[in-house]
Every structure is written in structure tokens, then in C-alpha cells.
Amino acid sequence: MVTCKDFLRELSDYLDETTDPATRAELERHVSECPNCWVVCDTTRKTIQVYKGMEAQPISDCIHTKLMEAIEKKAAESGHSGCCNGNHES
């Protein structure tokens, strides 16, 4: 029988759906009968979702330009050719 401690130990694998079917069935039975574990499972799932949905922070044109200039300089030093500034969409 799955206890709350067992459930917490398996929570990540349960949410990632990487547990074997037999273990998953036992965990599902536990979470359907235990209000505390249901809440922890639901709020952990939501925690992962809000981070996955987090937009990558826009970076300034200035940072991008400095980076490209540094690469151009490095390329010139090593004898590579080609310009990469034109590929950036502002």
C-alpha cells in the first residue's frame, strides 16, 4: 500500500509519466483517496507549468550588437569571413 511518503518520493516520476504502469496505478489510487497528496500533486504540476510558460526575457539590441561585434572581431582574428549582423531581426 502506498503511503504519503511513498507518493512524495515518486511525485516527479509520476508527473513526468515515467513510472511503470503498475506503480502508476497504485499512485493514482493513493492520490484519488488522499486530499493532501492530491493538492501537493496539483500544485506541483502547476508550479512546473508556470515555469514552462515563462517567456524568455527579451534582451536589448545593445547586448545583441555587442555580442555580434565580439564574434566578428574573433572571426577577423582567426581569418573567417562573412557578416552576421544582417541576420538579426529587431
Partner: protein, 214 residues
């Protein structure tokens, strides 16, 4: 500045096109390397910002990461995705920044943690249905950054790679030089600690706080 939309990882067509771009970059085509920079710079910056917790350090990491990638692109064998390879460089650069800043304390991913210790759960409360709609994008970003900044680097880094950058467990283990078991253990702890912090912000008002029997 908005770069190109971030391509979903794992799309075969996008990946095969990327292989060609990487090959052109290996031949010395700087424009091709520029395409790779434009595709991934926002993600690298976000990751560096979250690990170092500092805008200036994140900018340095972004620059050093892509300069190193450019210098050493011929050592990229194509056995992993280009982004995984760049991520490994960015994580190392970010951790170096942390070590320099906290010179009195060693920042190491090899820190010995008790993996058998029971995970801690204190706050058990249902969340508001749609916290994303209650806060502006900026407010939400600040809440999420503050929560993640409160984690130890060993947990924070694993969480960022797995749940923000969406690397697989195996890729995360490869990037950090950790075992699969260590990645899983740290990920569980990180997720539960963040859940704890976010529950304090997002819990539905007026609900009774539940609790595990001791």
C-alpha cells in the same frame, strides 16, 4: 528586442536544418553562426540570469558562451543537439561567475546532499484557478524569479535545465556531469521547494490550510 521565435526542441525538420547551419558555421561561415546566436541567445541569457541571479553576469555569460562556442565549434561532434552543447558551456560559465562572486563559499554541483532525506512539504493549499491572469507578465516573471533565486545552486540549476529549458533527464545529467539518480533527486527537491514558495503567493484566499498528520 524580440529575436526569432524559439523553435520547439525535437522537431526533426528544424533539427536537420540546424545540422546544415552548424556545418556551415564549422566551415567558417560567420553568418551561419550568427543564425545560431539569434536562435538561442534569449534562452542562454534567461538561463544565465536565473543561475547567476544578476543581469551583468548574465550578459557576460552570454558573450563568453557564444565566443567559446564559435572558437571551438569544430570540436562539436553533433552527438548531442547544438543547444545542449551550448547549454553545457553556458552552465559552466554561469557557475564560474557564481564562484567568483561568492569567493568565500564554494559553489559546486557536486555538493554532498543526503538523497535519502525525506522531501519537505509544509504548505498544503489549493491555488487560485488562474494565477497567470491575476498578475501582469512582468509581475509573474518577478514572482517566479524571486522563488527560483531562493533555491541553492545545485537545485536551481537542475530545475532550470529540466523544467524551464526542457532538457531531458539524460541531457541534464550529461550537461551537469551528474548521474540520472542525482538529477532526479535534485529535481524533486527543487520542484517541491518552488511549490512551497509559490503556494504562499498563489493560494486561494479563505481556504483552510491542510496539513499532513505528524
Amino acid at each position: 528586442m524580440e529575436g526569432e521565435p524559439i523553435e520547439p526542441v525535437g522537431v526533426p525538420e528544424a533539427l536537420s536544418a540546424e545540422v546544415l547551419t552548424v556545418e556551415r558555421a564549422k566551415q567558417g561561415d560567420v553568418a551561419a553562426f550568427g543564425e545560431l546566436v539569434t536562435r538561442y541567445e534569449r534562452r542562454v541569457y534567461r538561463m544565465a540570469r536565473q543561475i547567476t541571479q544578476n543581469d551583468e553576469d548574465a550578459e557576460d555569460v552570454l558573450q563568453e558562451t557564444f565566443l567559446k562556442a564559435f572558437e571551438h565549434i569544430n570540436s562539436f561532434q553533433g552527438q548531442s543537439k547544438f543547444y545542449t552543447w551550448v547549454t553545457r558551456i553556458a552552465v559552466n560559465e554561469s557557475l564560474m561567475k557564481l564562484r567568483k562572486r561568492k569567493s568565500d563559499r564554494t559553489v559546486s554541483l557536486d555538493e554532498n546532499i543526503e538523497t535519502d532525506e525525506e522531501p519537505i512539504v509544509r504548505e498544503i493549499a489549493v491555488w487560485d484557478d488562474t494565477p497567470e491572469q491575476k498578475y501582469s507578465q512582468e509581475e509573474m516573471r518577478a514572482i517566479l524569479n524571486k522563488a527560483i533565486d531562493g533555491l541553492k545552486p545545485i537545485f536551481r540549476t537542475v530545475f532550470i535545465l529540466r523544467d524551464v529549458e526542457e532538457l531531458s533527464t539524460e541531457e541534464t545529467a550529461e550537461v551537469l556531469g551528474l548521474s540520472i539518480a542525482a538529477v532526479k533527486s535534485r529535481l524533486l527537491r527543487a520542484r517541491l521547494q518552488l511549490r512551497e514558495k509559490l503556494t504562499r503567493v498563489f493560494k486561494r484566499k479563505g481556504d483552510q490550510i491542510l496539513g499532513y498528520a505528524k
